[in-house]
């Protein structure tokens, strides 16, 4: 959304807009997928976002939490949030029912450079809950698949039960327009996929370093190792994109909680290319 459109709608950028929960899906034991619809029509019409951006979700009486958007920008009117029950606000959100109203502010931050990625191969690497922001990018690429070259998705999780969006990804394994590989640290009897860290999957990958964009999101410890693999494949530092999780309380560059190096994840990120991220102290 342009700053002007945002301003006209949000004279007060701290004021959340009411949104109705239109569906709730259990993804795993800890994560649920919420589909939300902003109630005010003007607000809904003005709410445009890029894959990689986030919103601030309000449960009044409990507080706010930053959650990245998982649905594609091409899906008008609704947004999906993949939420892990990990704190006060997300816990209260998990207790909500379909039809309940919550508060929403945003979208905030800088997303993935979707337009620049067009015409190129894309390699997406997600670990655990890191798939939440990448899912938006994956869905957006899916909707405009003809504009992209080879699309590879490497998905890591601790065990098969913790793989998010598994039903959809199980189907995608059989598609020939997406090269999807899933791996788990600890397999169970039913698991017929890869075993081990996502970095192990790079051995079997063929990457055209002049033509490939990378996108990474996962637990803090994962970035360094995945970036190392991408660099070994000679991908350019400014074509490797990472999305950082930080404590983005206000979303508008004021509260200071999401400081990363000399920048703020909420307005300068949360998506950075690796050259930028390399220059952020303690980021990776």
């Amino acid at each position: 959304m342009s700053t002007d459109a945002y301003r006209s709608l949000h004279a007060n950028p701290y004021r959340p807009w009411p949104a109705r929960i239109t569906s709730i899906r259990d993804l795993t034991e800890k994560e649920k997928l919420f589909e939300l619809r902003l109630i005010d029509e003007d607000v809904r019409d003005a709410f445009h976002f890029a894959a990689g951006q986030f919103v601030e979700v309000s449960v009044f009486g409990v507080g706010e939490a930053p959650i990245s958007i998982s649905s594609a920008p091409s899906k008008g009117g609704f947004i999906e949030l993949c939420v892990r029950n990990a704190g006060d606000v997300t816990g209260a959100l998990h207790a909500k029912q379909c039809g309940d109203i919550i508060g929403l502010r945003g979208p905030f931050g800088r997303g993935f450079p979707f337009e620049q990625m067009k015409g190129h191969d894309v390699l997406l690497v997600a670990g655990g809950l890191g798939i939440a922001p990448l899912k938006s990018l994956i869905n957006h690429i899916h909707d405009e698949r003809y504009d992209f070259g080879n699309v590879t998705i490497l998905l890591g999780a601790r065990n098969p039960d913790e793989i998010l969006f598994r039903a959809q990804f199980d189907m995608w394994k059989h598609r020939d327009d997406f090269n999807l590989v899933m791996t788990v640290d600890v397999p169970d009897d039913s698991w017929d996929g890869e075993v081990g860290l996502v970095t192990r999957l790079f051995d079997q990958l063929e990457i055209d370093p002049d033509n490939t964009f990378g996108a990474i999101c996962g637990p803090p410890v994962m970035y360094r190792y995945v970036i190392d693999e991408m660099r070994k494949k000679r991908m350019d530092v400014d074509r490797i994109y990472v999305s950082f999780e930080r404590r983005m309380k206000c979303g508008i560059g004021m509260c200071g909680h999401c400081g990363v190096g000399h920048q703020y994840a909420c307005i300068d990120g949360p998506v950075f290319n690796y050259w930028e991220a390399m220059n952020l102290q303690e980021a990776i």
Partner: protein, 341 residues
């Protein structure tokens, strides 16, 4: 800039005059120190004060303020009314006026904070010149002077004030309530003499700020940060008394009946242990050394990378407030040490 000269004995006229339409605040004595407080009697106003414990930021971002009221039944905002009343703050030193302008960059930038904006717009600033204290090092950043960001500025020339007028509002109000006269060549000469004397009154060595932002990166893993981390109590006092520290927390407070509540913003500090912790428990700055380092890194480099100014005005309040004896001058000196001379 326009200038006038005002007899010192006229100051109470200005305070009384402004009281008619403004809440008047300014420095008053409290024990052996000074605080910004409401002025009921012009005689309480101490424009000869040294410095205050808390900076005037409390009048723009209060320690705790309600951002909005919400109702639990419909789960939505009931009101987010922005309240601000006309107020004049007397006696801001150049450092504190410069600090406000640094805050403006944050709160009135790409996004506008309506609460800050309303207070900023309804507040009149009357600055006054000062005498450097032992901890003052505003001259290192050029914040010992101020050329905008105020309405009226009073420079003490002994029996009279050399008055700088920066806004039409300030000029109008001065004209309405006080008798002033035109500036003579003698007044200007005296103003220059006072300024020169001020510049020479700084206590201690000049602070070496050479290449500070680059040094912060080059010495990011320097043991000095561990030593500072050992000493730091993570009490956050430095942030509370800092005129440029703007970080805040937001919390919901439910009314006793549970039917409605307030979303409240309070001052926060990057020195508090959970400041950079995310929901599932990972803390990006778990050690006090990483937090002390972050505070300096952000002030001297992070903020500067966006706004071309450091986020410090050299007021020395953090040094006075620190129970562990950490001072910005000491930290900068430690970073500068070790290089070949």
């Amino acid at each position: 800039m326009f200038f006038r000269v005002m007899d010192k004995s006229r100051l109470p006229d200005l305070v009384r005059g402004l009281s008619a339409s403004y809440e008047v605040v300014g420095p008053i004595a409290k024990g052996d120190t000074f605080v910004f407080a409401q002025i009921d009697d012009p005689r309480e106003l101490r424009l000869d004060y040294t410095t205050t414990i808390l900076p005037p930021k409390k009048y723009f971002v209060p320690p705790a303020e309600e951002l909005m009221r919400f109702g639990m039944a419909a789960n939505e905002v009931i009101s987010d009314e922005v309240r601000a009343h006309p107020r004049v703050i007397f006696g801001l030193h150049p450092c504190d006026i410069n600090a406000l302008m640094l805050m403006d960059n944050v709160f009135l930038g790409e996004y506008e904070d309506p609460y800050y904006k309303a207070r900023r717009e309804s507040t009149l600033i009357v600055g006054v010149n000062c005498t450097p204290e032992a901890e003052c090092f505003c001259n290192a950043w050029g914040t010992d002077e101020v050329h905008r960001g105020f309405d009226i500025f009073l420079s003490d020339l002994g029996d009279r004030y050399f008055v700088s007028l920066c806004s039409v509002k300030g000029a109008d109000l001065l004209d309405r309530y006080v008798e002033t006269r035109q500036v003579t060549a003698d007044d200007t000469a005296e103003f220059q003499r006072v300024t020169r004397h001020f510049k020479q009154s700084f206590v201690g060595e000049a602070v070496d700020t050479a290449q500070l932002p680059l040094l912060l990166d080059a010495k990011f893993n320097d043991p000095v940060w561990d030593e500072l981390g050992e000493a730091c109590l993570s009490c956050g006092a430095c942030s509370m008394v800092c005129p440029t520290c703007y970080c805040f927390d937001v919390k919901d407070r439910l009314d006793a009946d549970g039917q409605a509540g307030s979303r409240v913003r309070t001052w926060d500090s990057c020195q508090f242990s959970h400041f950079a912790e995310v929901a599932h428990g990972h803390n990006f700055r778990a050690t006090s050394s990483s937090r002390v380092k972050y505070r300096y890194y952000h002030k001297q480099w992070g903020y500067l990378s966006k706004f071309e100014r450091v986020l410090c005005v050299g007021c020395g309040r953090c040094e006075r407030a620190c129970k562990a004896g950490i001072s910005p001058r000491g930290v900068i000196e430690a970073l500068q040490a070790g290089g070949a001379s």
